[in-house]
């Protein structure tokens, strides 16, 4: 019996059949449905008069288009209102459970899936959203799909897929104080590139992973897609089991022991062979920020903006020049001298309770710089309520932040939360693409503590220097 990786084990358990052409029909256990990628998928079912075969395999929630304030009022009539209404109508028609905007279980799909116990180790889980890789933190094969594939899951509970190659990212050492898991993933993407993981399922392993909370593991897996990998996974362990146990949709008590024993058996065998290995010593890491228009254009906050003229590869040089032009930055500038206008703390990457605690710790007793405005958008209603119970909302409000309701918000700028052209934002989100936070907006990606430090300083800054000064 040969040795298997975590990915292989979960994959094998879901192969319905193998075709002669190298593809497999993969069974999909769970599907998170949101308003942006589902209307056309539901419309496809209607057009072909097809059934949605297993309604209990889906949960639907509107997260991208919803406003993050004045939620008790009806949505103003418009495209967003119609999109949210369409999701609700489709769910009623096809018998899918829908979480309403003012429900205490509402939130970003990738935050509420784990909170509810909908996300389980060893499962296959999909969503019409690229950050579905988040759920791999539980040892699930979880990946983003397009609307056509959403329709296929509705109609067949399967997807025709090709097995990915495997890449193990071993994280050694321990993080220094003030350095976060966000810095690990940004540094990794800077190292392997935004297409460094294409075709591969990443498994994060090593001593630094073992000590991470589930929240931190989700941040890590969430941004796998920014390295090009649809799938990022971590083997289930005691931390995973402690998180899942007692969740509303976790295994029933009589199934719990069998489920947990099975989950613990999924870890990659000691002699399993990966197609590619990458190692990173996290003890040497410092806080990172992005300077360009993809997450690979990232550097230590203490460094200077790189000079495209020194880049040997012409395509890469051209891309750097374009990025700096869009970002209105000059080579050689110190990153920690870049002034900002806005701060966004939230998203499926960094909108969980631990993220808000880390940001609040920096903000407490300080005030947002006069030139800056900031919003804090919890990833879910549950995160918001927990934060309010801990008094974090007061910390943020007293410091001059706006405290909002849950949603994707300024990570994707599909609601009213968006940058104006030319505005510059310190953001805990996952993408710094051109226009991502609003047309003409400029994004710098960083950890929650770093975004909080930027808010109170008025410019990008190493959060560790702030701590030393206070």
């Amino acid at each position: 019996m040969s040795a298997h990786t975590l990915y292989d084990k979960v994959w094998q358990q879901h192969v319905v059949k193998q075709y002669d052409d190298g593809t497999s029909l993969l069974y999909i256990d769970r599907h998170l449905v949101q308003e942006v990628s589902s209307p056309q998928a539901f419309a496809g079912l209607v057009a072909e008069d097809r059934k949605l075969v297993r309604p209990a395999a889906h949960i639907a929630v509107a997260d991208h288009a919803v406003p993050t304030r004045l939620r008790h009022l009806p949505l103003p009539d418009g495209l967003a209102s119609r999109q949210v209404a369409r999701l609700q109508e489709n769910c009623a028609r096809f018998g899918v459970h829908y979480v309403g905007m003012n429900d205490n279980r509402h939130g970003i799909v990738h935050v509420i899936g784990p909170e509810l116990g909908f996300t389980l180790p060893g499962a296959t889980l999909v969503c019409g959203d690229s950050h579905t890789s988040t759920h791999g933190a539980f040892g699930a094969i979880a990946f983003g799909i397009g609307a056509s594939e959403c329709e296929c899951v509705f109609a067949t509970q399967t997807l025709r897929q090709k097995r990915q190659r495997t890449m193990r990212v071993t994280l050694n050492g321990a993080l220094q104080p003030g350095v976060a898991v966000k810095d690990i993933i940004l540094a990794l993407i800077a190292r392997i590139g935004t297409n460094g993981g294409v075709g591969h399922a990443i498994e994060y392993a090593g001593p630094a992973v073992a000590t991470l909370s589930m929240e931190a593991r989700m941040t890590l897996c969430n941004m796998s897609i920014e390295a090009g990998s649809r799938v990022g996974m971590i083997a289930p362990d005691a931390t995973t089991i402690a998180y899942v146990r007692g969740r509303k949709l976790a295994p029933k008590p009589e199934q719990q022991a069998a489920a947990e024993a099975y989950w613990l058996s999924l870890a990659s065998d000691a002699d399993a062979v990966f197609d590619r290995e990458v190692e990173l010593d996290v003890s040497a890491l410092v806080p990172h920020v992005s300077w360009g228009t993809n997450p690979g254009e990232t550097a230590p906050v203490s460094s200077r903006i790189p000079d495209p003229a020194l880049e040997a590869d012409p395509a890469r040089r051209a891309k750097m020049e374009r990025s700096l032009h869009y970002m209105a930055l000059q080579p050689g500038m110190r990153l920690d001298e870049i002034a900002i206008d806005k701060v966004f703390i939230g998203s499926c990457t960094n909108g969980r309770i631990e993220d808000l605690r880390l940001a609040a710790e920096v903000v407490a007793g300080r005030h947002v710089a006069p030139s800056v405005s900031g919003i804090v958008v919890p990833g879910s209603a549950s995160v918001r309520l927990q934060a309010e119970a801990e008094g974090l909302d007061r910390v943020f409000i007293d410091a001059g932040f706006e405290w909002r309701d849950a949603g994707c918000s300024m990570c994707v700028a599909m609601n009213d939360d968006r940058l104006q052209p030319g505005e510059r934002c310190a953001s805990t989100s996952n993408r710094n693409f051109e226009g991502r936070q609003g047309q003409g907006g400029r994004t710098h990606l960083m950890s929650p503590a770093m975004a909080a430090a930027a808010a109170v300083s008025g410019h990008l800054v190493d959060v560790r220097s702030l701590k030393a000064a206070s």
């Binding site: 072909e48 395999a57 288009a65 389980l120 047309q439």
Partner: protein
């Protein structure tokens, strides 16, 4: 799905790496509920100046405004899973994108919509980019898996046999699975339910969760 067999067209050169799906189809247009008519939002920020006037972006510039082929650079279509990026390309008239590498979800979405993504690297890609700029037509032939540049040799490309067949026949993937694999899925599901019963939420857990009243 529209078949893809062979295509003859000028090819628009877009020599820029990391063109992500937010550039191809900005997020604010994702609020639209249909998949037709999205071509007008394709590369919106590149094709329109802030005031709304047309720019000199390649797809605004004859003869490339009628191109059915786009020659892009590395990591084209990276980022989000939005299939709108492919629907917009297709609605604009683009049926084939040639690049050294693609975002994985974008690549997969192309095949659901009769759009052929062709991976060409190194010298073959450089030749494609410079040949595109000439404004002379390319010939893409899926059967022989070749791209012929104007006045150039036929350059081969790789493609999964399954995806090639689906494109050439314009297969309805979902219909195929329902017609041919339904029994296999049913028997798999029975085995799966027996071995991991906790994965099946029709046992009352989901109803119970949603029956609870949790006023906000």
């Amino acid at each position: 799905m529209e078949k893809f067999v062979t295509l003859t067209s000028v090819a628009a050169p877009l020599p820029e790496a990391d063109v992500d799906t937010d550039i191809i189809f900005p997020a604010r247009f994702l609020l639209l509920l249909d998949k037709v008519g999205l071509g007008k939002h394709l590369f919106h920020e590149r094709r329109h100046a802030p005031g709304g006037a047309s720019t000199d972006f390649v797809l605004n510039t004859p003869p490339f405004d009628a191109a059915k082929i786009l020659v892009a650079d590395a990591n084209f279509g990276s980022g989000s899973s939005r299939e709108q990026a492919v629907w917009a390309l297709s609605d604009f008239g683009i049926r084939c994108v040639i690049a050294p590498s693609f975002g994985e979800i974008f690549y997969s979405n192309c095949f659901k919509n009769g759009v052929l993504p062709v991976v060409l690297t190194g010298e073959a890609h450089r030749n494609a980019m410079s040949a595109a700029a000439s404004g002379q037509p390319f010939v893409v032939d899926l059967e022989s898996q070749t791209v012929m540049f104007p006045n150039g040799p036929a350059v081969p490309f790789e493609i999964d046999p399954y995806r090639k067949r689906a494109l050439m026949l314009g297969l309805d993937e979902i219909g195929g699975i329902l017609a041919e694999d339904a029994d296999d899925i049913a028997s798999f599901e029975a085995r799966h339910r027996a071995s991991q019963p906790w994965l099946f939420l029709d046992d009352g857990r989901l109803d119970q969760l949603f029956d609870e009243t949790e006023p906000s």
